[in-house]
Structure formats: structure tokens, C-alpha cells
């Protein structure tokens, strides 16, 4: 344990932090699944409105995905252009 310097410690902590940041992927997963489930219900009730429902669902999924993308961005920042180093 004596030959660990500060830089190595920061690198190791950043790797753990990047992993923790990707926990943000849970939220969009649940949200998009919920949106897709509701879209299936809507199509089952009104099959003729399938095109509109699909379009709206994809937009909603894209908006729900944003927080996950932010998490990915933090993880990438910690791994590739770390501001702490």
C-alpha cells in the first residue's frame, strides 16, 4: 500500500465514480419501458392510431433518455478528460 501516490488514487476513484454515474441508466430504462407499455395499450385499444402513437412514444422516449445521456457524459468525462487530474 506504500507505493500508491495521489494520481493513482484519483484514477481509481474516477473509475469507480464512472461506474456509479452509469446508475443513471436505471431511470430512463424504467421510464421508456413504461412509455412503451402505455403505447402498446393505446394501440391495442385503437389500432387505427398506431402511426401517431408510435411517433409520440419515440419522442417521449427520446426526452426520457436525456438524463441517462447526462450520466453517460459524466462517466465519459471521468474516464477520458478527467478534470481532477
Amino acid at each position: 500500500m506504500n507505493n500508491i501516490d495521489g494520481i493513482t488514487l484519483i484514477k481509481a476513484a474516477s473509475a469507480i465514480g464512472a461506474g456509479l454515474a452509469m446508475i443513471a441508466g436505471i431511470g430512463p430504462g424504467i421510464g421508456e419501458g413504461y412509455a412503451a407499455g402505455k403505447a402498446v395499450e393505446a394501440v391495442a385499444r385503437q389500432p387505427e392510431s398506431q402511426g401517431l402513437v408510435t411517433k409520440t412514444m419515440l419522442i417521449g422516449c427520446a426526452v426520457a433518455e436525456t438524463t441517462g445521456i447526462y450520466g453517460l457524459f459524466i462517466a465519459l468525462a471521468l474516464l477520458f478528460f478527467n478534470p481532477l487530474l
Binding site: L58, I59, A62, V63, T66, I69, L72, L76
Partner: protein, 237 residues
């Protein structure tokens, strides 16, 4: 993962770096230019050639989409929407032939998002006047004004980050897969990386093809939704 390669440096303003993204964007522009020249070559009043029918089909599709989403008032936004869509689509799909996708660079998507943000404020300014434009920040209630002011910055930020992050995430997963398959095939002592043939195509179908088309579509849809939200709707006019 590494950034775009820098090819050469222009000697103005203390050196402007010309990198892979800019070269590829020029290629995309040339592709679109040639495509539109070929599709609109020798147009006739009654279309007989397949190219003209295809061109009319594309234009009618985008016109219908803009009319459905934004209303008849905003029909002059249809060419802008088509430009963004085509540029984003070809820019993402160019990654399939081995070039670096132009949307893999944050600068590209940020430019489009800033153009969209300009149009959002321009339309709000044009339809409600200077006072009305300033007043729109105090809606729906007065104490939400700071949040509305933050919204000026966060709207283009989230739009550009969404597009960029999706394409970048897909490309990272693809490069991880290629590395894994390469080391796997070197593990079983084959000189040619035979596992890299065919298997990545299945994932590439989703991460490059579907994601590229989807993000181009979503960027256009969000642009249309944001722009038509600030102006008056069809019922008032």
C-alpha cells in the same frame, strides 16, 4: 477512444485546425449536393422519370410532417427541417463506410441546436413583439422567471447533448465489441481476426443504422415542437 484527427492547420487567427469532422462534413455536403442535382435534373410538369417521382415524394413527406406538427403557418420551416434531417442522417450513416460520423463531434450538434435556439427566439420575437417576448418569460406565474431564463441555455444544451451522446455511446459500444472480438480471435490462435466478420453487423444495425435515423428524426421533431410552441397556433389565426 480518441478525438478527431487534425489534418492541417490554416494560418489565420493564430491557427485554425482542420480536422476529420470538417472534412467529413464537406463530404456530406457534396453527397447532398450531388443527390439533389441528380434528383432534380430536367424536371417535367408531368413526372415520368423515377428520380423526379422520388424527389417529389421526399418533398411531400417532409411538407406533410411539418404541416401536421407545426401547422400551416410554419410551412416556410420545411426546407430548414429537411436540411437538418438530411445532414444529420447522412452524417450519421457515413460511419457505416468507415469514416468518422460527423455527429460524433459535439461541435456539429451544438451548431444545429444553436440555429434552432435562434429560430425559437426569432419566432417568439416576430409574433408577439418586443414587450410580448419579454413578457413570455414571466409565464405561467411570475416567480418562475429564473427557470424560464435558465431554459434559454438548457434547451440547445439538452438537444445537442442528446444527439451527440446517443451517437457517441453507440460508437463506444461498437468499438468495445470490435476490441473484444479481436482479442477473442487472437486467443484461439487464428492469425486472421475471423470473429470480427459478420457478428458486429447485428449490433451495428441497431447502434449505427436505427440510432442514426432515430436521432435525426427526433432532433427535427423537437425543433418543430419548440418553434411552434412559442408562436400562436392555427386556431387563433
Amino acid at each position: 477512444m480518441e478525438g478527431p484527427r487534425i489534418f492541417f492547420t490554416l494560418p489565420f487567427f493564430g491557427g485554425i485546425n482542420i480536422n476529420e469532422t470538417e472534412i467529413n462534413l464537406t463530404i456530406v455536403t457534396l453527397i447532398l449536393l450531388v443527390l439533389s442535382l441528380v434528383l432534380t435534373h430536367r424536371m417535367e410538369k408531368i413526372p415520368r422519370k423515377k428520380t423526379q417521382i422520388l424527389a417529389e415524394k421526399i418533398v411531400i413527406t417532409i411538407d406533410n410532417l411539418v404541416e401536421q406538427t407545426m401547422g400551416k403557418r410554419y410551412m416556410n420551416f420545411a426546407p430548414y427541417m429537411m436540411t437538418i434531417f438530411a445532414c444529420s442522417l447522412i452524417g450519421s450513416l457515413i460511419g457505416l463506410v468507415g469514416l468518422r460520423s460527423t455527429t460524433q463531434d459535439f461541435n456539429t450538434t451544438l451548431t444545429w441546436a444553436l440555429a434552432t435556439a435562434f429560430f425559437i427566439h426569432y419566432v417568439g420575437f416576430k409574433y408577439s413583439g418586443f414587450v410580448g417576448y419579454l413578457k413570455s418569460f414571466t409565464e405561467p406565474v411570475k416567480f418562475l422567471t429564473p427557470i424560464n431564463l435558465i431554459g434559454i441555455v438548457t434547451t440547445p444544451m439538452s438537444m445537442s447533448l442528446r444527439h451527440f451522446g446517443n451517437v457517441l455511446g453507440g460508437s463506444i459500444i461498437m468499438s468495445l465489441l470490435y476490441t473484444a472480438l479481436g482479442s477473442l480471435s487472437s486467443m484461439i490462435n487464428i492469425p486472421i481476426p475471423i470473429l470480427e466478420v459478420g457478428i458486429p453487423a447485428i449490433l451495428s444495425l441497431y447502434f449505427d443504422l436505427f440510432s442514426g435515423v432515430m436521432q435525426a428524426f427526433i432532433f427535427c421533431m423537437l425543433t418543430m415542437a419548440y418553434i411552434s410552441n412559442v408562436g400562436p397556433s392555427d386556431d387563433i389565426a
